[in-house]
Symmetry: C2
Subunit: 479 residues, 2 copies
């Protein structure tokens, strides 16, 4: 039990120091390690296995909508990056530049991709000739580089892993549909796989992606009320097509510019999982992406028949779930703490007394509930329990988000909520960037999150300037 206590004590309390609690979990659950390059992380096996499970699930969802995977080069010549004016302005300041290749200085320096719109456009120009070649629905899984000054594991890294979808369509309508379709895929994934609720909607002009006509976003709320931009989907119109001279012969035999989209989510999602679901004992992983779904722990391992029975349980469960049997010589208390830290959704305990009774004990990670179950029905009970855990995690996160969402109808209210309680603020807005900037400044960082698809009418006037309101906006601080 000494080890057990030591381990639990080693984590900062969530409500004591949220930032330290976060980095404690990242380290103690062995998700990542730092490397000697600032802001570049090592994904350790447990952290990477979470990402692999996320990839597998999302990739299936993408492919079901007709998306195909490709791989673009990691280098972008400076002249190519400069082809779209807004885009280069947005990204050039944070690029890493290769200037020497082999032993020679390069004639033109190469940017390590911060995002790949320009590379996709260069390729699309070559392979799109007529409307029959459309749509192109491409995606790639890769790493990208954005040179950041201050970095935090998963949330802000100089190099991170992500997927970026890039599509080309015959008409603006089809491209807009695609933009929203992929936003829905993200929303479904967050809800049904990660058990994370979120507000979705479109970004204000100020918060749009560099080069986009419209940016849609999914914004989950962390336990402490701070928002995380959880994924974005952009509609580009024909702006990139014009900059890159991509044309196709239409059904009318004339040349047209196609319409484009891009959409992406990254390993930030793992940060969201930690900060939405985690507690004072460590990670709490959504069952669908947990690398270990069931930990089988033999109690009084030296007693006759215990290890054998634990092995049987493991074999039964392995047919349906990702299972780990821990027969190491650590004390049970150490093991309990270890699998709690790693957020394993359920542990199954089996000891001599259980064997006598033909039962075992299931312990839920999310609420510590103990469920005694006959061994004969173990698989069914675990299956139901994992679903119950998913549902309960979602409900708990939803309740937190609802409790930390406030309405502000006056500037004083807005500032008071923004400065004290945090969370989301719902408030009316006139549509002017000036008001966004003012609200951010006087609250110390509250920004517009999104304009939801279904706006409520909370007041007639902008919460900031008092002029007629155009939209209801979700506001909040962000990671």
């Amino acid at each position: 039990m000494a080890n057990n206590k030591k381990m639990v004590e080693a984590i900062t309390g969530r409500d004591e120091d949220f930032a330290k609690w976060y980095t404690d979990i990242v380290k103690k659950a062995e998700l990542v390690d730092y490397s000697s390059v600032k802001g570049c992380m090592v994904f350790r096996p447990y952290g990477y296995a979470i990402w692999e499970n996320i990839q597998k699930d999302m990739d299936r969802r993408f492919k079901e909508t007709g998306v195909e995977n490709v791989y673009m080069p990691m280098f972008i010549p400076e002249s190519l990056l400069q082809k779209e004016k807004d885009h280069v302005e947005g990204f050039a300041p944070e690029c890493a530049w290769v200037t020497v290749g082999g032993q020679e200085k390069l004639a033109e320096r190469l940017c390590v991709r911060p995002t790949s719109e320009t590379l996709f456009c260069e390729h699309y120009k070559k392979v799109i000739e007529t409307y029959r070649d459309l749509p192109k629905l491409y995606n790639q899984w890769c790493s990208v580089v954005r040179w950041e000054k201050t970095t935090r594991p998963f949330l802000r890294n100089s190099e991170f892993l992500w997927q970026e979808g890039h599509t080309v369509h015959e008409t603006a309508e089809e491209a807009k549909e695609e933009t929203l379709r992929m936003l829905r895929v993200y929303e479904d994934f967050y809800r049904d796989t990660l058990a994370i609720p979120a507000v979705v909607g479109r970004k204000t002009e100020k918060e749009r992606f560099a080069g986009a006509e419209e940016t849609y976003t999914i914004e989950p709320m962390m336990h402490n009320g701070v928002a995380l931009q959880g994924g974005t989907s952009h509609y580009f119109g024909d702006g990139f097509a014009k900059s890159f001279d991509i044309k196709f012969q239409g059904r009318d035999n004339k040349l047209h510019y196609p319409h484009q989209t891009s959409w992406g989510v990254s390993t930030r999602m793992i940060g969201a999982i930690i900060m939405v679901h985690g507690d004072d004992d460590g990670l709490v992983l959504p069952p669908k992406i947990s690398p270990i779904q069931v930990a089988v722990l033999p109690i009084a391992m030296h007693k006759e028949g215990v290890l054998e029975k634990a092995g049987e349980l493991k074999d039964m469960l392995s047919k349906k779930f990702r299972v780990k049997l821990d027969d190491s010589d650590h004390a049970p208390g150490w093991k309990f703490a270890e699998y709690e830290m790693k957020g394993v959704p359920v542990r199954v305990e089996i000891g001599p007394k259980d064997i006598e009774k033909g039962q075992c004990v299931i312990v839920r990670r999310d609420n510590r509930e103990k469920i005694f179950t006959p061994i004969d029905s173990l698989v069914e009970t675990v299956e139901k329990t994992l679903q119950d855990i998913h549902d309960a995690m979602y409900e708990k996160a939803l309740k937190n988000m609802q409790e930390k969402t406030h309405v502000a109808t006056t500037l004083d209210e807005f500032v008071e909520i923004g400065k004290s309680e945090g969370g989301f603020i719902k408030a009316m807005w006139c549509g002017e960037t000036e008001c966004e900037e003012k609200l951010k400044e006087i609250t110390g960082g509250v920004k517009s999150r999104c304009i939801p698809f279904e706006e409520e009418h909370l007041a007639d006037t902008c919460v900031c300037c008092g002029k007629p309101a155009k939209h209801m906006v979700y506001w909040g601080k962000q990671y």
Copy 2:
């Protein structure tokens, strides 16, 4: 039929100009596109889907041996790369260097990883404390960069995709076992998944990986007799551990250096698939990794019931195979040529007369054989046919390799074979690098491929210098 002819004529004959035939296939089968950075390729959907199928199969094989996936940063600080002397000498000349990050010149330049031994060692130093932490069996799938002067799609690229396994062990014996275990995994994969035979063995000192004590290799032969280094597995001894000061507390409570390995294969494998199996009509893909295993082609599509029946066949087959139903308005001849070019193992033709008879026609890509089969037993027949195709492809490639493998017992024989026929040469060798260099020079590029595990005794003396022979070596030109 015009389209059909046009397409077939567009490919250079394999025996006419092998190099041109290769690049024609790469382009016509839509595997890759060139990018504006020399030697960096775009993997198009069909090319990338082949890689995804390769990854899925290999990844399963790795994990079955206990390997875990991780992800290391893409940047290596110059000082870290320099820690192992032989290693840096091998790779520094072909590194791409990042010298500017954000808008500032970096204090230390960063190499874009050409391979990641140094990064793994840096991490291992931090996470290995005692023998209980061993072995570490890590792998990563990523892209690496080696600045090449002359490049060819898949075979030699400035950026390419690969996997690199890096393991750490308590004893030299365990590390040596791991090195050979992974070589066997590659050999099994080539044979059982890619239908490609190969010679395997260890490299001579001259051909070893930079920093390795022993390098093992798998060397398949292309149709034209040229070898391709298809995968390597390295035993490092404790050299890297000493350079990076990685130590663990042993069972004797003393500090020891662990022993390490690394092993990798890359997208070159796709080059091997093309050059081992392809023919004058295009790709011939091994059934297990073909993105489309069955193309269902309706004949006389406008006739009543044809499309409906083709849809039924697709649904039946999709339960077991990757299937594409092509109901586009191209002529059947065009479709035949298209799926032949793409190397789809079988096509299933269904027309009005077939429907009357309750049958359909299966056409094999590898030998054009037509198999008439009742629709009721279609799934079973396709399953058997795919296995037959795999087996026949392997046998054909094996026969080619055997026919193009020659024995040389004199220098004249060696030179004559090396200069004229190509293929592998089996010959005795004294063990001296000098002889390897001489043989390479006088034959215009014949190098040692490997020393096989089971050496034949072909003569008493070295084929080059006439001194006593130490080993039988496979020799050949390489890509």
